[in-house]
Amino acid sequence: MSNSEELLGTAAAPADRDARVSNVRNRANWMRRRLLKMIFDAGQGHPGGDLSATDVVATLYFDILRIDPTNPAAPNRDRFVLSKGHCTGALYSALAGAGFFPEAELDTYLKPESRLNGHPNRVYLPGVETNTGPLGHGFPVATGIAIAGQIDQADYRVFVLTGDGELQEGSMWEAAMLAGHRGLGNLTLVVDRNRLQQGAGTEETNAIEPLADKWRAFGWDVVELDGHDHGALIDAFDAAAAPRDKPRCIIAHTFKGQGVSFMRDQAGWHHGVPNAAQYAQAIAELEAEMAS
């Protein structure tokens, strides 16, 4: 377990595994409702990818990361880098839920001069590690952070979330090669494997499979799991379970639009915006899930 008492992870998260899973499940449900409200109010956003990434992001922010919203630049903090920078709904709702800024500020999403830009900006917003948006940037930066930790023999960990379509960017494989070469055991990459990119499926656009084999060939430890299974995510993020001499790639099999029936696995919801009736239905479904 990577949590420590003085930082957010354990302070907010219970110790018992079932309770941890339940906590993350509740947080993820809250994030989904909150990010859909942001997108509905703003009239734009990327709900498909936000919802596929929500469970990964929730597990990190509400169970795994050792971060302190009152000291967001603490040198020994764990780092989370959103390499798929367009999924700000998931990131901002998590940061607000974790206390990096007031929840009410989520209502400013995409409005003039809001700190909540369409892509995350570390200069505006505490808790953001590096500005992303163009694909293929966050992972190399995360690799650099992990190298700094390796040089210093620091005990912080670095987590990076990439899209699967993002793996078509050449810079991703430059970083993959270097992280494997240097044996960055402090680095964990999650591929949000929802199989859909903006226009179509990854495999019909420019195939990324066999994906696990690619990562292994680059010197990585690979775990494949259901990216909506909070218990599996908690276990895969467990520091004690990961090799210390290799970076770990978690291929999280997910669905775009997860949690909302009519958005699930639909490429059209990459940056679709629900109308009032669709929004009401989505919220009703999520509230029903919470009650179940």
Partner: protein
Amino acid sequence: MSAATASPSLFDCRDIYARTVEELAAADDRIVVVVNDSVGSSKLGKFRDRFPRRLVNVGIAEQNMVGVGAGLANGGKIPFVSGAACFLTARAMEQIKVDCAYSQANVKLCGISSGVAYGELGATHHSIEDVAWLRAIDKLTVIVPADPWQTAEAIKAAADFDGPVFIRISRMPVPELPRTDPVFRIGKAEVLRDGSDLAIIASGTTVHHALAAAEALAGEGIATRVINMATVSPIDTDALAAAAATGAIVTVEEGLARGGLGGAVAEYCAAHAPVRMRMLGFPGFLPTGSAAWLMEHFGLTAPGIATAARELLGVARAQ
């Protein structure tokens, strides 16, 4: 390094670069170097031997090199990201824009063997667009040092400065310049020679040629103000106002004539002090030739600069 007087010796500023970064690293363990298989061409062999853990070689991968540099800055390091200027800037432009400038990461980008230093290797290896490109990026400081002393001082100033900086590190042989200001400040031009007939504003390896041109012009009764504009962005507007007051400006740079130092000066003058100008630099992709030949052929050495000055002033060359 003291440099009160001009020296006839010529220097490769990469040597000064490597020595200075090594000195900084000895005093501050946050200093690290990131290279793209460019230990030799950056002259960092001694650094590697002395600080092996603090030299990060990413291999031939410039996008990753700059991204990793930004990550090292996030991890509390002061990374000097060093690679051939042509590849560092063109290949990794979006990383420079997003990971360094837009993110305000404390990264020092060192463009080695900038300009036309690679001579006969051709336009793929020339880095003559870099200043024009990087000057367009907000919140990125761009420095083009003129000599060994200024190279060392610029590197130290960059290390002290919290934010992204690009520094050209030339391999073209240059002399130590006569110094009029013993302190280097980012954003502050250096007036190397006073004069009221015209001003020559130069950067980098052209500054000593500008001084020689001014000397020749002085023999013809033309008093030339010579300004070493090492910081191209943000530019010293006080120095530009004073230069414009002479009524005529020649800019000189080892780079594209459009968009670089000349462009920066022209933008200022068009808005604040319209003045006759000549912008000296390269026209575009260059023919085969050595660095020295290219500089001379395109009028960037003393004779060409003096000719441009005379033409601008409408005077014939004194016989």
